[in-house]
Amino acid sequence: MAKIDNAERERRRKLVAAHMAAENAHDLEAILGTFAGGAEMMFNKTPFTGEGLRMAHILFGMSATDPGSLSGTVVRPEGESFTDDSIVIDGTVTGLHVGDVLGFPATQRQVVLPYVAIYRFDAEGKLVSERIVMDFSPFATPGSAR
């Protein structure tokens, strides 16, 4: 039986939709504005806070003004679930691989990166925790990585 009422589900849906809309608009300041002060993003077990949040989003091509290692980045949510305090989104990030990522040189190929993300917002609607696992292997051509 569901414990999270529809109003709370809708609140979380709208907040995460706004976050992803900012990412798809490559509006870095708007993205960062969705985070609370002291927010943490855990990305494939690596924590990012503060300036690290900015750099990680730039790397993924989510800034219109700072070139990253992906360009034409699109976040495509495909499914949602809810935990006691979070909304869980699974989907893909697509983009053109135009720069080095973790030592994998640019391939100029379109990559499709599946992910699951767990977003937790505070009472003010700010993102306090984003925990993601994303498959980075599409950046590699088998046998080509360092």
Binding site: K45, A56, T92, D100, G103, M134, A140
Partner: protein, 170 residues
């Protein structure tokens, strides 16, 4: 920017991830506590994977299961078995060896008979797996898995996103 981000990612990828004692063997509590039941079912599934007991792994699945790994869906038991062999979860050799699945966090999914688990698969990369040739190195593969069960406590759906980046390094 790129170099700092790279170091941050590398530090995380190489970090030893301690096993967290999750629920298991909860006995009578399972009936009253959905979380305890779901965690015990996932613990049992993972225990068979860590024992490399393929028949045991397959026995935790329902008759018509779904498994989705990084967006690719498998519905045939034979394909699910082959996937577990490839990842070193059977006695027969696969692309990974000494495989160990470590759960780190789990969440009950509201309104679903399902548990979401964050964890890491540790193994030695001894053969070609998902197209990436052996490196003989130890790899740590972070994952988030969603396990959904039926009324008979069988796994009807296992949907995983796992970072295979460590397999891609030569």
């Amino acid at each position: 920017m790129t170099e700092l981000t790279r170091r941050q990612f590398a530090a995380g990828a190489l970090a030893a991830v301690p096993a967290v004692g999750l629920l298991g063997g909860c006995g009578d509590d399972e009936a009253a506590d959905p979380r305890a039941r779901l965690q015990a079912l996932v613990d049992a599934h993972v225990a068979t994977e860590n024992a490399h007991d393929l028949p045991g792994v397959l026995d935790t699945f329902a008759a018509q299961p779904e498994m989705v790994m990084n967006g690719v869906a498998f519905h045939e038991v034979a394909a699910i078995a082959a996937g577990h062999v490839a990842f070193g979860m059977a006695m027969e050799p696969g692309g990974l060896a000494d495989t160990r699945v470590v759960q780190e966090r789990s969440y009950v999914l509201d309104g679903e008979d399902a548990l979401l688990v964050e964890g890491t698969v540790f193994a030695i990369h001894v053969g070609t797996v998902v197209g990436f040739p052996a490196t003989q190195r130890e790899v740590a593969l972070p994952y988030i898995a969603r396990y959904r069960f039926d009324g008979d406590d069988k796994l009807v759906s296992e949907r995983i996103v796992m970072d295979w980046e460590a397999l891609a390094r030569t």
